[in-house]
Assembly symmetry: C2
């Protein structure tokens, strides 16, 4: 039960992962030099996003299952944000040789179940194992399109700005971990069953550790005529700034829809879908209006008609300090 | 000139990388949530392989350019080994915040120039930057097929076994680094211009640091009717064992073609293409006969008609020890 990957060796670790990642849907799945995947429509959507132990997860807080789930979810969200349907993940796992095999097996379970829950039909179709002092999960997601991709750059003045999914819930979960589950030196401590948490706090924690981005809503938005779309990974104001800048508009956000969610404007990691639609469109199910796009003004984003305060999100090099934790 | 990625921040580091990785050939290249790529033929080949500082490269020995080149080359080889043409790379780069920006820029140069030299038309079409205590380059390569993929499992008794590319040259380069460019404590020291190296030694060093897998020969082999193919990344005997096992044959290797190359049988990292062809085929240019496939016997691989001695290659967890270096 306490076997490590160093004790078992690459071949046996790989065998155990392959037994858990679920059924391949590919023409050639894991096991050859590369996977071969069907791509109806003759174009593919591809993205990569990495979770690193330290900045992106802490082992005291996240189980192997959580890490696998989140690594899948954040990549699926980038595919959905193009209006595409995810079809395959490739997973490059680097880990110290004292990593317990049980952790790796749970990680494979999390990858499988996130695909099943968020993007049925998508599976892990390839990967790589490597030794490293730092546990890292680098995932590439591939997807297919039923219509043209929805870019960040297509928003036009007059469009409705809408959001599908949570805003600020995962960030509340992170704040809870930092505030209540660290020791006197600031080191993470495990969340135990007897921690006195409200239901709302439990939900926020779960969303931080296992986000539920609205993957199916990406293709729905594309079919409904979305003019621009992206996923909110670093914070609503920061990501809206990116969309506004790419589109050459100002995005005006109303805070009324976010009443009671203190971190809605700056919290990332929910991987909500931020999209714009022509003013006359009926919003697809699951999207709520949060503002409108205007002619580009002095500020790319306005919040309740005022320029936002602060950076509005997360920068991995400026904000992360290994010594600080 | 001594700027670090932590000083510059993600956005500026990304800007500098994008300025160097070359021209996108994609419908949507870097900068949106995901890339959009044309896939003629309605199927794609996809693979991922990671280089980790420590087991896979040492900064005293490898420049940023070398690391970028090698990260591209090893992934391009996996695409070629399916008989496919590489079309795009996605690069997930994780690095400490004290990494010099000049190193990252050189790495981007290496990625670009490896694509240009080994797989013209292929470019970096997406990526991810993350902070980590361990410098890691996780690359995903995508490719397209002009005919059916060539798997490891298609070799038949009677087939000719052939190889394109070097065998053992990169391993000689690694041995040279370990033998002559470490200090008394075993730590790597830089290769200086005044190191007394023969031309053969310089070539071996260059091939270890910047391998030249025969990428164009993958599609050539497929077109010539190769029955099975894979790239030799861990050692000829070990990888031939994998091909033989997948195909249900015994691969009988003759050492005569490798006279004068002491590490040809066990050295990896040249990323030569090992392929089998029907006995009556003319081998495509660049492939040389190294043996034949036989009915499966007691051993998956024979070397000069005898079972091989030793493991025949590299296991990342069993063979790498951070303390040993």
């Amino acid at each position: 039960m306490d076997d490590t990957v160093g004790q078992l060796g690459e071949r046996e670790v790989l065998r155990r992962i392959l037994a858990r990642i679920g059924r391949s849907a590919a023409e050639v799945g894991p096991g050859d030099d590369a996977a071969v995947l069907a791509v109806p429509g003759e174009r593919i959507v591809a993205t990569t996003d990495t979770l690193v132990h330290g900045p992106d997860f802490r082992l005291a807080w996240s189980s192997g299952y959580d890490v696998g789930w989140k690594a899948a979810a954040v990549n699926l969200a980038d595919i959905a944000a193009m209006g595409a349907r995810p079809t395959a993940l490739l997973v490059a796992l680097t880990m110290p040789d004292d990593t317990p095999v049980a952790f790796v097996e749970a990680l494979a379970d999390g990858l499988r179940e996130a695909c099943a829950a968020l993007a049925p039909g998508c599976a892990v179709e390839g990967g790589d194992l490597a030794a490293s002092d730092t546990l890292t999960v680098a995932v590439t997601a591939l997807g297919v399109l039923d219509q043209d991709p929805v870019l960040r750059s297509g928003a036009r003045a007059g469009d409705v700005v809408a959001l599908a999914g949570d805003a600020g819930v995962a960030a509340r979960g992170l704040q809870l971990l930092f505030d209540r589950f660290r020791d006197a030196d600031g080191a993470p401590v495990a969340v135990t069953d007897d921690a006195a948490l409200t239901d709302a706090e439990r939900t926020a924690l779960a969303r931080q550790l296992r986000p539920h981005p609205p993957i199916a809503h990406g293709p729905l938005a594309a079919a409904a005529g979305a003019t621009a779309m992206m996923d909110v990974s670093d914070g609503l104001v920061l990501d809206a700034t990116r969309l506004a800048t790419a589109s050459g508009v100002t995005v005006s956000i109303d805070t009324a829809p976010f009443a009671g969610e203190p971190l809605a404007l700056t919290g990332g990691e929910d991987h909500a879908l931020l999209a714009t639609f022509p003013a006359e469109s009926a919003l697809p199910d699951g999207f709520r209006r949060i503002g409108e796009a205007r002619m580009a003004g002095a500020h790319p984003v306005l919040v309740d008609r005022e320029p936002p305060v602060g950076r509005g999100g997360w920068d991995p090099y400026a904000d992360w300090d290994a010594a600080r934790g």
